[in-house]
């Protein structure tokens, strides 16, 4: 594997071997082959478009279904679910410190009041409108 030329006499054999492998891994594509592949790809995609255009119902069905799923999920798990209603101690329609205040005034246990207050100040339950 050694190059007979003098200038490469001192190169390590391992380096020489690696250079050879790296060099040979480089792919060279015949231009004619390259053109043939591209033409084939173009034909494929040009043919595919009319097929999609021929089925508008199917085309819109998937996004509609996804939107419906998201909407259903939001409606089902939105913050103002049953727990939020349970936390609305004063019946004001919103959950805030006044509910913890109302609970405390009703002689509930300190632990229950603390637990409700912790939920009230939880960032996860708040809208970010600052």
């Amino acid at each position: 594997m050694h190059d007979p030329e003098p200038q490469f006499e001192e190169l390590p054999d391992a380096l020489v071997a690696r250079l050879e492998r790296a060099d040979r891994s480089q792919a060279i594509v015949d231009p004619r082959t390259d053109r043939a592949v591209i033409d084939d790809a173009r034909r494929y995609f040009l043919t595919a478009r009319p097929r999609r255009a021929r089925k508008p119902v199917i085309r819109w069905a998937l996004p509609l279904a996804a939107a419906a799923t998201v909407l259903a999920a939001v409606l089902l798990v939105r913050p103002f679910g049953s727990q939020r209603l349970a936390d609305d101690v004063d019946g004001s329609g919103r959950v805030d410190v006044l509910d913890a205040f109302a609970l405390a005034r009703s002689q509930a246990s300190q632990e229950s009041v603390d637990a409700l207050a912790a939920r009230i100040v939880s960032l996860g339950a708040q809208r970010s409108d600052l």
Binding site: D96, V97, L98, F101, R105, A118, S122, S128, L130
Partner: protein, 155 residues
């Protein structure tokens, strides 16, 4: 020649990196500072409950303490979202408290209801946003109130 060029480039990059590092370190050192953000609520009737949200728009605020207000009717430190603050995930904090004391003992007018002690990083001046969520009277009904803040650094 090529090796020398490589070495020159390496040295230049190293110098640049160190310069940036100096700058960042200097910036970091200058920016790691503390401040006390005093929150005031101004009411015309005795204040029995309050809730506010505080945000720092640059995201450089780290809460290091939450303090009760001046009124003896509020002897304990207020409620806040501990999980978010402890995870360091809060550039926004919601704080609330209430008092079961009689109306005569509750604060009226402009009163400091809480202080949020913060550690600030970054060189820019903090940009706070404060919102009063609700204020309540001794009978539990919501009342009108104004909220404001003031900062102290002790310097």
């Amino acid at each position: 020649m090529r090796a020398r060029s490589l070495v020159v480039a390496t040295v230049a990059v190293a110098v640049a990196a160190l310069a940036v590092s100096f700058g960042l370190v200097a910036q970091q050192r200058a920016a790691a500072r503390f401040a006390a953000v005093d929150i005031y609520v101004d009411t015309t009737v005795p204040l029995a409950a309050w809730q506010f949200a505080l945000q720092e728009r640059h995201g450089e605020m780290q809460v290091v303490g939450v303090e009760n207000g001046d009124s003896r009717a509020y002897p304990e430190a207020p409620y806040y979202d501990r999980a978010a603050v402890d995870r360091g995930a809060a550039d926004r904090i919601i704080v609330a408290s209430f008092s079961l004391r009689p109306a005569a003992e509750l604060p009226v007018g402009r009163a400091r209801v809480a202080t949020v002690h913060v550690r600030l990083t970054g060189a820019a001046a903090p940009d706070y946003r404060l919102q009063l969520v609700v204020a309540g009277a001794a009978d539990g009904r919501p009342i009108d109130a104004k909220i404001s803040l003031d900062t102290r650094t002790g310097r």
